[in-house]
Structures are given as structure tokens and as C-alpha cells.
């Protein structure tokens, strides 16, 4: 297996080039002025750093340039690095909460973000850490979703609790939670159907799944993990807000971050949200997931 940091660096190399690379070229032999700031703004927005984070970065440069008497374009680079670093590190927490087994991860998100694939990868990742993992196939809605998650369970060599298409997802969740307890699993990964956060009846269904699990394994730690597609734009913020209201949100998993220049979204998320990013998806293979480490990301982006 390749060195994980190497993989991270490669995955984010285009993002790096797209943000710092481009900005470094733009600032060469330029003075700090409105035109230059506008060009930097363009680069940040196009890298999906987000409207809010971008506006803040530009304002900060503008202010600091005045305060510290900076005039040369190149001086912008260090300012930016520092600001982006502090944005990315701002959501770090070092407390690790006490968890009661079986810990349940409710994997939620809108349609097509990669929930099922992510669960496959998580199952592998967690098993490799020596944990006993069980998967609950609660996407009983989408055609062939159960087959898809079963294939991933095979690949990860973990147990799966499933029913037929069209079954009540809450009852699958209930069975799975009880099985997880009986088989003394460490973690139960619950796959759920993709749902747009705007559909309240589907969000109700999610709440019900959570309640039912709570009943089946009283006292267990239940964590909701929201999956967000790395190429999502500003709508990601709405997604977090609404899912948080419905079933809470203990952590984010950002998918599809490899290869393209989409990593800027990590900055947008850190700026606008309190929820920590816990994992990032970096490809389609079982190994292509990593725990999110903001200082490593900063290193991969800047060094």
C-alpha cells in the first residue's frame, strides 16, 4: 500500500496548483492593488473556496496590507497561507468522547454523493484497525442498492444485515442494531437511501431510523455522519444545516476529492461550519479513504 500522505499529496496536488500555484504566478512582480485582489478572488472562487471564505480572505489581505505596509504582490502569499491555515485548523478538537459499543454510524446524505461506496471503504478501513464491523443495508429504496452494498460488504469481508427492496428501512435498522449487539460488534455502519434534505417526509424517515436504533441498542453511542460530494457548491451548507436539524451531524465525510482541483471546498466548509470533517474520500478503491488531518492537508496544500 502506498504511503497515505503520499496519496493525500497526490490527490490534492491539482488543488494545490489551482490555488497557491495560480496565485503565485499572478502575484509575480505585481503591486498589491484592486486589480490584483480581484484576480486572486477569481482564483479562490473558482477553486470552490466558497463565497464567504473568499471574501474574508480578500478583506484580510486588504487590511493587513495597509496595517503592515505591504506593497509587493509576493507578500500576499504568506498572508494567504497563514489565513487558510488558521481556517483549516479552526475546527480541530482533541477530545475523543467516550463511546459505548456497539457504536452506530448513521451514514446520511443527498442522492449520488457516494454513501454506499464510502461505507464499503469505511468497513475495510475500520476492520483493518482490528474492529468488528457490521453493515446495515437500509437503502431499501433505490433499485439494486442492496446488491451494491452487499458487494462492498464482501470485499471488506464484513457481515451485512439486509432485507428486500421496498422493506421498511427502520425495521432493517432495528434488526441490524440488535445483531450488532448480539455479535458484539464494535461498529455498525448504517447505509441509508440518498435523500434531498428538502423533502421533509424523507427526513422524518431518517429520524425514525435513528429512534429505532436508539431503542434497539439503548445506551449505545449513535453518531450521524453526513457525506458531502466534494464537487458540491454552496448547496453543501444547506445540506449540513438541514441534516443537522433532523438527525444531528457529528462529522462530515467529503468524497471524490482525488485527482481534480476540488479540494478548495475543505476551506469553505471549515470557514462556514462548526462540524469537523472526519474522513475524505480519495478514489474508487477500497483503500481510498483517509482520516482527515487538517495539519496534513495544510502541508499537502502548501509544501
Amino acid at each position: 500500500m502506498a504511503n497515505p500522505f503520499q496519496k493525500l499529496r497526490e490527490s490534492l496536488s491539482k488543488t494545490k496548483d489551482n490555488i497557491l500555484g495560480k496565485i503565485s504566478r499572478v502575484v509575480l512582480r505585481r503591486k498589491i492593488d484592486d486589480d490584483l485582489l480581484e484576480e486572486i478572488e477569481e482564483i479562490l472562487i473558482e477553486a470552490d473556496v466558497g463565497v464567504k471564505a473568499t471574501m474574508r480572505l480578500i478583506e484580510t489581505i486588504r487590511e493587513k496590507a495597509v496595517q503592515e505596509n505591504l506593497t509587493e504582490g509576493e507578500q500576499v502569499i504568506d498572508l494567504l497561507k497563514n489565513e487558510i491555515r488558521s481556517i483549516l485548523l479552526s475546527n480541530d478538537t482533541d477530545e475523543s468522547p467516550i463511546e459505548t459499543k456497539p457504536v452506530v454510524w448513521l451514514i446520511v446524505g443527498v442522492n449520488g454523493v457516494g454513501k454506499t461506496t464510502t461505507i464499503g471503504k469505511l468497513a475495510t478501513h475500520l476492520s483493518n484497525q482490528g474492529k468488528k464491523v457490521i453493515i446495515a443495508a437500509c437503502d431499501t429504496f433505490r433499485a439494486a442498492a442492496i446488491d451494491q452494498i452487499s458487494i462492498w460488504a464482501d470485499r471488506a469481508r464484513v457481515d451485512i444485515i439486509r432485507s428486500q427492496e421496498g422493506a421498511d428501512p427502520a425495521s432493517v435498522a432495528f434488526d441490524a442494531a440488535q445483531a450488532a449487539k448480539a455479535r458484539q460488534a464494535d461498529i455498525l455502519l448504517v447505509d441509508t437511501a440518498g435523500r434531498l434534505h428538502t423533502k421533509s417526509h424523507l427526513m422524518e424517515e431518517l429520524k425514525k431510523i435513528r429512534r429505532v436504533i436508539d431503542k434497539a441498542v439503548e445506551g449505545s453511542t449513535i453518531l450521524s455522519k453526513l457525506i458531502i460530494d466534494g464537487s458540491t457548491g454552496q448547496n453543501a451548507l444547506n445540506q449540513v444545516r438541514v441534516f443537522t436539524d433532523a438527525v444531528g451531524c457529528d462529522g462530515l465525510i467529503i468524497t471524490k476529492l482525488d485527482g481534480t482541483a476540488k479540494g478548495g471546498v475543505l476551506i469553505a466548509i471549515a470557514e462556514e461550519l462548526e462540524v469537523p470533517v472526519e474522513f475524505i474520500g480519495l478514489g474508487e478503491g477500497v483503500e481510498d479513504i483517509q482520516e482527515f488531518d487538517s495539519s496534513k492537508v495544510v502541508e499537502a496544500l502548501f509544501e
Binding site: 470552490d48 433505490r142 434531498l196 417526509h201 458540491t232 457548491g233 448547496n235
Partner: protein, 440 residues
């Protein structure tokens, strides 16, 4: 929804009130807000910049500066320009007139290709054509089965060759179709997480082997700035003929569409608005323009209403709204009609200004039932003239409907907010409030 551009422009222009005449500088300030709104809707930076420039030239005319409501005037210009950029009119799909006609569907993973393949098949079937779907995504686990399940659910033929390459599957499918009187072949191709060379080669080969009449790129309406790059790469390699915007049933503003349209020059042909196979609509540039600007989607709402609502009643209702005579009696009738239309939240999102008027109101079915119970406990007289609701009347209604006095006060407040919203809408003279306009 909540930062609708009109709210923000209102702030810009509020500052000016009393300052007398508007200046070019004011217009520039408001266009900065427009630009920001576009960026927040995920319109590509360059597209937004060029767009604002072109609007600026139009907006600095006398008409805007002298008009009574310059904010609305600017929004109108922006809106009209957006519609033009988005293609003006809905553009139809290639006709199904060969034996067979071929539609090829491509796009990134999870964008909604397979679902679209099913939807196109259903649509063809409804036009009395014989469609066939072809499973050419051999990579994603269970993708072939997914398409098969969808096809079975609408009794449409499903084509796949186990163990063969996608290129071969598609070529064979077209041959099979021409021998078996299939009118429309729909190719569901593989997606990737991102554009890669291998995939593009595969798609190019499929294209040259099957010669599709329509090569559709499916684009997720939630996509951010990357939409431009994806569209450009697909278009450069494959010369797509049209774009289908998916997941428009959510609350994404859908600015990606504008970027894609600008970069490829290809028309956006269809809008995918749900997971069910019937959830496919022609694309309407004017509606998307409203949505990008955060103005809601009043026309879809009205169309939905027209399908389910008694037109004559609705016309009367509209009259009442226009004359600001809307009372609880009407409200009750409306609510009952609306319940037939579908989940409330999805309807609510389409109402311009609703976000603002109902900002802190969580609308769910439970609340609605409560509201109905309260109104039903009112006398006709009270419904017609809620002003007469004093303490003792409220106590009676509370007891009768099983609610607290607070709940009743809250409803009265919401109702007042709604009436105000209608008044605003009347002032905005929403482009010809079409027949059957629904207030809720």
C-alpha cells in the same frame, strides 16, 4: 431562498431612500450584489463577471435610474438577460423518428444517468414509442441490475451482454434494435468520480459505433465551480448535443447550469426533478433564472396547482388576492386544495418571498393539521374577519381545537405575514400572475 436577491437589493436601495436621485454608482453597488448572488448560486466566476458587465450597460439607462422601484427594475433586467443566456426557450429533444433513434447518456458518477435512462424510456413509452435501455456501465457494482430493475418497473426492454466491453454492448444493442422494431435506444454509460482519459476514450468509441442522435450530459444541479471544467471536457471530447440538469427538486440554486450553457453553448433540454421515473420535465430557462436569483419558482407551482385544482375556484382566489380580500375562509379552502398537490415543503420552496415571510416557521404536516383544526374551530364570521377575535373567542377556539392560545396567536401572526406577502407580490406585479395562482 433566504438571501433572495430582492431582499439584498432592498437593503442597497433603502440606504438611498431620501437621497433623491439614483446615480450610476448606486447601480454599480446593486450590480455588485447581483454578482455576489450569482456566485452564491454557483455561477462560474468569469461567467458572472461578464454577465454583470453586460447588464451594467443596459442598466445605466435613464429608465432604471428614474424608475420608482429601481431594485425591481434591475432585477427584471438581470432576469431577462439570464433567460436569454440560458437559451431563451425550452429546446426539444431530437425526435424519435428513425429505426432506431439513439440517445446516449453520459456524466459523472452519481449525477443521475441511470435514473435518466429510465425516465427517457418512460417518456418515449408514453408517446407510444418502443424504447430499449442498454446497460453499458459494467464497473459500478450492481449498476446493470439497477437499470434492469428500473426497466422492469415500466415494462421496458433491457439490453446487456454479460462479460462484454461497453463499446461492444452498445454496438450490438443498436443492431438488435434495428432488427426488432425498437424506436429508441437509450445508452446508460459508466461514470467516473471525475473526468479521466480512459473513460473519455470509451465514450468516444461508443459514440462512433452508435452514432447517437442525442448525446446528453447529465449535470447535477448542486455542482459547484467544477461544473465548467467537467462540461468543457465532455464537450471537447464528445461534442454533446444537450444537457440534462438533475436533482432540481432540491434547493440548489442551479447556477452551474448557466456556466455549462455558456461554456458549451449546448442547450439545456430537460430537468430531472425527483427519483421517480415520471419526474422529468422540459427545461424552462425563465424558471431557472428566477431560481438562480432566489426568486422562487412560481410557474412550476402554478402548473402543479393547475393539475390538481379547480380552475374556476382558483381564478376567484386570485381575484381576492389581487384585491387583498383574502381571509381565513379562503385560506382553509386553499389548504385543503393544496394538500392534494403534494408535500408542503416542496411547494413552499417555490413561492417567491415565502422564505422571507415564513422565515422562522417550520412548515410540516403536523403544523398544517394544527392550523386546519384551529381554523375549523372558528365561526364563519371569525374566518371572514379575524379582527374580531378577542380573548374569549380565542379561548373558545383554543379549547375547541385542542390548542393553546399561543398557537392561535401564532397562526394569526402568520396569516398577517402572508397577507402582507400577497400585497408585496401585487406590488411587484409578478409577470402576469398566471391563472390559478396559488397563495399557499
Amino acid at each position: 431562498m433566504f438571501d433572495a436577491l430582492s431582499d439584498r437589493l432592498e437593503v442597497v436601495f433603502k440606504k438611498l431612500r431620501g437621497a433623491g436621485k439614483l446615480s450610476e454608482k448606486n447601480v454599480q453597488d446593486s450590480l455588485r450584489e447581483v454578482r455576489q448572488a450569482l456566485l452564491e448560486a454557483d455561477v462560474n466566476y468569469k461567467v458572472a463577471r461578464d454577465f454583470v458587465k453586460s447588464v451594467q450597460e443596459k442598466a445605466i439607462g435613464d429608465e432604471v435610474l428614474k424608475s420608482i422601484e429601481p431594485g425591481q427594475q434591475i432585477i427584471k433586467i438581470v432576469h431577462d438577460e439570464l433567460v436569454t443566456l440560458l437559451g431563451g426557450q425550452a429546446e426539444p429533444m431530437a425526435p424519435i423518428d428513425k429505426s432506431p433513434t439513439v440517445y446516449m447518456v453520459c456524466g459523472l458518477q452519481g449525477s443521475g444517468k441511470t435514473t435518466l435512462a429510465g425516465k427517457l424510456a418512460l417518456q418515449a413509452k408514453r408517446k407510444n414509442k418502443k424504447p430499449m435501455v442498454v446497460a453499458a456501465d459494467i464497473y459500478r457494482p450492481a449498476a446493470v441490475k439497477q437499470l434492469k430493475v428500473l426497466a422492469d418497473s415500466i415494462s421496458v426492454e433491457h439490453f446487456h451482454l454479460e462479460g462484454k466491453k461497453p463499446q461492444q454492448i452498445c454496438a450490438e444493442a443498436v443492431k438488435y434494435a434495428s432488427k426488432n422494431f425498437i424506436d429508441l435506444v437509450i445508452l446508460d454509460t459508466a461514470g467516473r468520480l471525475h473526468v479521466d482519459d480512459e473513460l473519455m476514450k470509451e465514450l468516444e468509441e461508443i459514440k462512433s459505433l452508435t452514432n447517437p442522435d442525442e448525446l446528453l450530459l447529465v449535470a447535477d444541479s448542486m455542482t459547484g465551480q467544477d461544473a465548467v471544467n467537467v462540461a468543457r471536457e465532455f464537450h471537447d471530447r464528445l461534442d454533446i448535443t444537450g444537457v440534462v440538469l438533475s436533482k432540481l427538486d432540491g434547493d440548489a440554486r442551479g447556477g452551474a447550469a448557466l456556466s455549462i450553457r455558456q461554456v458549451t453553448g449546448c442547450p439545456i433540454k430537460m430537468a430531472s426533478v425527483g427519483e421517480k421515473l415520471s419526474d422529468l420535465e422540459p427545461f424552462h430557462p425563465d424558471r431557472l433564472a428566477s431560481r438562480i436569483l432566489g426568486m422562487g419558482d412560481i410557474i412550476s407551482l402554478v402548473e402543479k396547482a393547475e393539475e390538481t385544482i379547480d380552475l374556476e375556484k382558483a381564478e376567484k382566489m386570485k381575484e381576492k388576492i389581487l384585491k387583498s380580500q383574502f381571509d381565513f375562509e379562503d385560506f382553509l379552502e386553499q389548504m385543503q386544495q393544496v394538500r392534494k398537490m403534494g408535500p408542503l415543503d416542496s411547494l413552499l420552496g417555490m413561492i417567491p418571498g415565502a422564505g422571507k415571510a415564513l422565515k422562522n416557521v417550520q412548515v410540516n404536516e403536523k403544523d398544517v393539521n394544527r392550523m386546519l383544526a384551529i381554523i375549523q374551530s372558528m365561526t364563519i364570521e371569525e374566518r371572514r374577519n379575524p379582527k374580531i377575535l378577542d380573548g374569549s373567542r380565542k379561548r373558545r377556539i383554543a379549547a375547541g381545537s385542542g390548542n393553546s392560545i399561543q398557537a392561535i396567536n401564532q397562526l394569526l401572526k402568520q396569516f398577517a405575514a402572508m397577507q402582507k406577502m400577497f400585497n408585496n407580490m401585487n406590488r411587484m406585479k409578478m409577470k402576469g400572475l398566471p391563472k390559478g395562482m396559488m397563495p399557499f
